[in-house]
């Protein structure tokens, strides 16, 4: 897979070689976009649709991208909005934080390596699904993108401290949910 820089992709696209530019966007970001959608929505069919819808929007608007942010930040903002819209349409899970969460120390959750092997992705997805959508997006963007607070805050349109608070709450709730999952190996 040829790894092109943002500038090379944009130059290719604007020069009319849209197929190649778009293919690069799918190769570089497709897996991450799909995983963000999958973990946020916990529904493979919806994740498919949200991923495709996001890429259509990306394709249609790439010409207008001005470079005010990183290309990936701009792309993931589109993905984030598509996930929000899909979550709202299906009315599953709170979109905003509406409930008081158990704020135990997430550092207390420390499964050993052997236990981690037995976690299946479905179990993690089920646990993530129990989070409010804001937190789901924050935690999936954080772990599936490049683990940069600044980038995730820019994608989410949140102040840095608010994002950190979302992440802290998400980790705490996730640890709580995983520990109490039926058949949990921890």
């Amino acid at each position: 897979m040829e790894h092109l820089s943002d500038k090379e992709i944009l130059d290719l696209f604007r020069a009319g070689n849209r197929d190649k530019a778009f293919r690069a966007l799918v190769d570089i970001h497709g897996k991450t976009v799909y995983n963000i959608a999958l973990f946020t929505l916990n529904d493979e069919s919806m994740a498919d649709d949200v991923t495709q819808e996001s890429y259509i929007k990306i394709y249609r608007n790439l010409e207008k991208f001005k470079g005010d942010s990183k290309l990936s930040t701009w792309m993931y903002r589109i993905v984030k909005n598509a996930c929000y819209d899909a979550a709202k349409k299906r009315h599953f899970g709170p979109v905003d934080e509406m409930e008081e969460l158990d704020l135990r120390d997430p550092d207390g959750f420390s499964p050993d390596e052997d236990a981690l092997i037995h976690w299946r992705q479905e179990e993690l997805r089920d646990a993530v699904e129990q989070l409010p959508v804001n937190q789901r997006l924050a935690i999936t963007l954080y772990y599936f993108q490049d683990k940069s607070y600044e980038d995730v805050a820019a994608i989410m349109g949140l102040p840095l401290n608010t994002l950190k608070s979302h992440l802290h709450r998400a980790k705490t709730s996730l640890a709580h949910a995983l520990i109490h999952l039926e058949g949990s190996p921890v």
Binding site: Y34, L38, D48, Y55, Q121, Y143
Partner: protein, 138 residues
């Protein structure tokens, strides 16, 4: 990773990541294709136009004068103070001229269709493709 390797969630999320499914990758890579410009000679729209032209021309040449006279007669029934432009009851227009004018109209319609196809092709094809994918078993 900036020292975050010990974050248990990091390991869990990395392990839980799934690859982009092949069928979805195929769908995504199909996104740009419908935007290829529609050729001026694309049979999807040029054939109907080409086949219509002889028939329409024949119709126009045969009936243009009659139709024009009928329209003129009807309009001439209006009182003149309504300021409707007077149209001669027997217009001095040859079938050939009339066919020429309508020929230009046809070309304009054809050009409009072509531009419309060119602009709308992406949306319609993507929508059709989306429906196909959504209803395909695999």
């Amino acid at each position: 990773m900036n020292g975050q390797n010990h974050d248990p969630f990091d390991i869990m999320f990395q392990k839980a990541q799934v690859d982009l499914p092949d069928h979805l990758r195929h769908r995504l890579l199909a996104v740009p294709h419908p935007t290829s410009p529609v050729s001026f000679w694309d049979s999807r729209w040029i054939l109907p136009i080409v086949t219509l032209i002889p028939g329409l021309t024949w119709f126009i040449i045969n009936y243009a004068t009659t139709i024009w006279r009928w329209v003129g007669d009807k309009l001439a029934l209006f009182p003149k103070d309504l300021a409707i432009p007077a149209i001669p009851a027997s217009p001095e227009i040859s079938p050939f001229s009339f066919a020429l004018v309508l020929g230009f109209l046809l070309v304009a319609v054809a050009a409009g269709s072509w531009l419309y196809l060119r602009m709308d092709n992406q949306t319609t094809t993507l929508y059709a493709q989306h429906l196909t994918e959504a209803h395909s078993p695999g």
